[in-house]
């Protein structure tokens, strides 16, 4: 136990006693995120202001208590799981949109604001916040920044870090600082906003975020291409990218995914097809029409046997329906769905998909592959049953092999879900000893006592 009665009293004095709880039930429901990992914190603290956060950090620092920040708990890599107990800092009370500046196209938000809330509020002013992780209905922007969340529009619009202009942070010693600016987000100097984006709460606690907004695109066009061969679909993705076309979205679904969705929804999907590719372009009307034509031609040249184009919003929704229903559909194959997240160069997508299929065969697992293929981000999902210990061992082994394969193809461990502690053991493999040491030096410089989210990204590794 690191939290003594005296620490508890200090915390209560800092944020108000109703916002400090160590009731067993409370610790249990805050012991997990959207992964299957769980670890109970010793106390859940809910601050309402940056000053309160600073006070809590100072208490943690004084008593060497681990501190883990949490937004909506929808992380897919164990980021907000209090691996070493200590304080869980619930940041959801920070839910104000402080400023939405339509003239200069930026927004200042608190970290507890729900992603979709910002997207909707920006849209009301004719503006556009592009990063849209699948969890955008419940995920917080603080969590999005901490994990550098991506989403379906990544091909054209990039990920969260491409939008962060400034951050207000509470550092490990309890100091409140602001890094970046609304003008250019701090270029020509150390890009500090970028350093903290994706740092998963290991370097500082985020208390305010300034993001860049874009003008809302005028038109959107959506098409769905069907393939008899998965390889052709993967080839199409590479071909579109190398032709210099930048669609908003390129989503790929393999046969098992299609079959699972059809079994779930019964909407008449052709389950004999090995792959579907969902494509979307946005921009000026003339521009999207031209791009769509080019894309359709590329799909045909690469073996698409059927191409549907949406002409109305209802048709667009219909084309998206299968993609949006994957999560629920997979639950029907086997109860437990373990969603992985890797990214490879787009040209390596055919090879990566092939590798996933081989790994599934080797470990006799049900695996579906889908993902934001346009930026090389694939989500191999393993359908298993967490009650089956023997199978879970095979799952672990398969995941390890998945990561090795991605790295071998010049890819990376995380497309958008973060490292957390689930992928931490593989970090050294990706960075190499020198790279790991450099990152560790940053961590040690900012958080020498190691109180911020310990056990994530930087775990003790055998350096060669």
């Amino acid at each position: 136990m690191t939290i003594t009665a005296a620490v508890l009293e200090e915390l209560k004095a800092a944020v108000g006693s109703q916002y400090v709880s160590n009731a067993e039930e409370k610790l249990m429901v805050y012991s997990f995120d959207s992964t299957f990992q769980e670890h109970k914190p010793e106390v859940v603290v809910k601050p309402h202001t940056a000053k309160e956060v600073a006070a809590v950090v100072k208490i943690a620092a004084a008593h060497h208590v681990p501190l883990t920040a949490r937004g909506a708990g929808t992380c897919l890599s164990g980021g907000p799981v209090a691996l070493q107990g200590g304080i869980l800092l619930e940041m959801t009370a920070f839910r104000r949109i402080v400023e939405l500046n339509a003239d200069e196209q930026y927004a200042v938000v608190e970290p507890g604001v729900i992603t979709n809330t910002l997207i909707a509020e920006a849209a009301k002013q004719g503006l556009f916040y592009p990063p849209d992780p699948s969890s955008s209905g419940m995920s917080t922007l603080g969590g999005n920044v901490a994990e550098c969340a991506g989403g379906g529009r990544g091909v054209k619009y990039g990920v969260t870090r491409d939008y962060v202009l400034a951050l207000e942070l509470v550092l490990a010693d309890g100091e409140i600082v602001t890094v970046g600016n609304v003008v250019d987000g701090l270029t020509g100097w150390l890009d500090l906003p970028m350093l903290f984006t994706g740092s998963e709460g290991t370097l500082a606690i985020i208390t305010k975020i300034t993001v860049r907004l874009l003008p809302k695109p005028q038109a959107i066009k959506t098409a769905l291409a069907q393939y008899d061969h998965l390889g052709d679909a993967a080839q199409t993705v590479s071909a579109i990218i190398s032709a210099g076309i930048v669609p908003t979205t390129i989503e790929i679904m393999d046969q098992m995914t299609i079959a699972a969705v059809e079994n779930f929804l019964q909407i008449g999907l052709d389950t004999t097809k090995e792959a579907f590719v969902l494509l979307e372009v946005d921009g000026e009307l003339w521009e999207v029409e031209q791009q769509l034509e080019q894309i359709i031609a590329i799909c045909r040249d690469n073996g698409a046997v059927k191409i549907e184009v949406a002409h109305t919003e209802a048709e667009r929704t219909a084309l998206w329906k299968a993609r949006k229903s994957i999560s629920g559909a997979c639950g029907k194959i086997n109860p437990t769905k373990i969603g992985e997240d890797i990214a490879v160069p787009p040209a390596a997508i055919p090879a990566m998909i092939q590798a996933v299929k081989e790994i599934a065969r080797k470990y006799q697992l049900n695996m579906v592959v889908f993902g934001h293929a346009g930026d090389g981000n694939l989500h191999p999902n393993i359908m298993t049953d967490k009650r089956n210990a023997e199978e879970m061992e095979r799952v672990e082994a398969a995941i390890g092999e998945l990561f090795s394969n991605a790295l071998a193809l010049g890819g990376t461990l995380s497309g958008e879900h973060g490292i957390g502690f689930m992928k931490a053991p593989y970090v050294l493999q990706e960075l190499g000893p020198a790279g790991y040491k450099a990152q560790k030096a940053v961590k040690d410089g900012l958080d020498p006592a190691g109180i911020l989210n310990p056990g994530k990204i930087f775990i003790e590794q055998e350096l060669e």
């Binding site: 009731a23 067993e24 039930e25 409370k26 249990m28 429901v29 805050y30 012991s31 997990f32 995120d33 959207s34 992964t35 299957f36 769980e38 909506a72 708990g73 929808t74 959801t92 009370a93 729900i114 969890s135 209905g137 419940m138 229903s325 999560s327 629920g328 639950g331 029907k332 109860p335 437990t336 769905k337 969603g339 049953d385 967490k386 009650r387």
Partner: protein
């Protein structure tokens, strides 16, 4: 717990991928912003509980009872976890282990003995002036003293209790106007019988006008929803048995309800609560198939639009959880309302969001149920409608209270009230209400 139940639950629980989608749909979580009240949070503890790794603590019981049973988490779960059923059965476990709270026990015993409950509520109407005083706007009343045990705080506006119950006001058989097309039985439910009998009269009148003969059996009881949703299935089963007996012997084409929760009980919950081994199970399934909500029934037989008179009103509609997510009835009420001549239909934002009533939930957690209601009244106000129509009297009471307390001048009416107005039934002779 029985092994079979544990296995069934395990299978259901293992479907939860902890994605947290329930966070954005749970009305309690929206207000309290606490993972303790999300479905995934509760499921996690239920999982520990069934494996004996966690005991039934006060905190856990509180988490499970702070739920409006609105089915929003169930309907929106991408993995299709039947959270509603688990929480319902978990409440049964609580009752098995701990019994019911005293207030609930007293109310439920009274519900069980219909005549006693009748008597109690009749006395209530005679003595209500001692405890309650008329509300400022003349509609309904507020408590003179706080009655926290019964869920009445001093600001709360509850309707005047009528001196006579619906079942005493209407004939056993109300004959169809003109040629009889259908013969139906009317299950009034407690709210229409004891609190809003005039709505019950309107429902019968509207049906008669459609060539439907309406039988209103006197020996009907509470549907049992407040009981089995609190985990008390024993008394609930007895009430269900008596209702099945009363309606099973009737020669009718359909059973009609005007309450979202009663309808859901007849259609789905009766067989569920009784279980497949119960001797009444087959009858419950059979009568469930005959049950129709009033809007559903009117659209099915063809709504009489010829005799409608213009009602120049702006109307919006609130989806009752048990009508919409429970019975999947959401098109028909809108079709009925849109058919009223000279009226304008305005859709409100989040029409399917819970109003916060939750049946007996609002008695126990009145403040919380009002906080949930606040969003509803805001959305109603945004439409600039004159009237908010509902298909469930429990929602009606709660929304009426909310609008009055928030000072929003919008009327709350049951769909059949508006229909009765349009058909000119209110001008005809009818027993005048206090």
């Amino acid at each position: 717990m029985e092994q079979s139940k544990i296995e069934r639950w395990e299978r259901e629980l293992s479907k939860c991928i902890r994605c947290g989608t329930c966070r954005q749909f749970c009305p309690i979580h929206q207000v309290l912003d606490d993972e303790s009240y999300t479905a995934r949070g509760k499921l996690h503890i239920v999982d520990k509980f069934i494996h004996g790794d966690f005991l039934l603590t006060d905190g856990f019981v509180e988490m499970l009872s702070k739920c409006v049973m609105c089915k929003a988490c169930t309907a929106n779960c991408p993995s299709g976890v039947n959270t509603y059923q688990i929480f319902l059965e978990m409440r049964e476990e609580i009752v098995k282990e701990r019994g019911l709270s005293f207030t609930k026990q007293s109310i439920f015993r009274a519900l069980h003995w219909r005549k006693f409950f009748d008597f109690g509520l009749t006395c209530g109407s005679l003595f209500q002036r001692l405890i309650f005083k008329p509300a400022a706007d003349g509609h309904g009343q507020v408590a003179r003293v706080p009655l926290p045990m019964a869920g009445f705080n001093q600001r709360r506006i509850i309707p005047n209790l009528p001196k006579k119950h619906l079942k005493k006001m209407v004939p056993l058989t109300a004959a169809a106007k003109g040629e009889q097309r259908y013969r139906v039985a009317f299950f009034t439910g407690c709210m229409l019988n004891y609190v809003y009998p005039q709505i019950g009269q309107d429902l019968i009148g509207v049906l008669n006008l459609h060539g439907v003969t309406v039988v209103t059996p006197k020996e009907q009881h509470c549907c049992g929803t407040p009981l089995f949703t609190s985990g008390e299935t024993e008394i609930a089963s007895d009430l269900i048995h008596r209702n099945l007996e009363a309606f099973g012997k009737l020669d009718v084409d359909y059973i009609i309800t005007g309450c979202g929760s009663c309808g859901l009980a007849w259609k789905q919950e009766f067989p569920h609560v009784l279980g497949e081994d119960h001797p009444d199970y087959a009858l419950a399934v059979e009568l469930g198939k005959k049950t129709r909500d009033i809007s559903e029934f009117l659209m099915m037989i063809g709504l009489n639009t010829e005799q409608m008179q213009p009602l120049p009103l702006k109307i919006t509609y609130h989806d009752s959880c048990h009508l919409n997510r429970g019975q999947k009835i959401n098109k028909q009420p809108r079709q009925v309302l849109q058919a009223i001549p000279a009226s304008t239909y305005l859709e409100m934002e989040k029409a399917d969001g819970c109003c916060g009533s939750g049946g007996s939930f609002n008695l126990k957690y009145y403040q919380l149920s009002r906080q949930i209601n606040q969003q509803k009244t805001e959305h109603i106000a945004q439409t600039s409608a004159d009237v908010v129509a509902v298909g469930c009297p429990a929602c009606l009471m709660h929304i009426k209270d909310g609008l009055a307390q928030d000072g929003i001048a919008v009327e709350t009416k049951h769909i059949v009230e508006l229909l009765a107005e349009s058909y000119g039934l209110h001008q005809q002779n009818r027993e005048v209400q206090p």
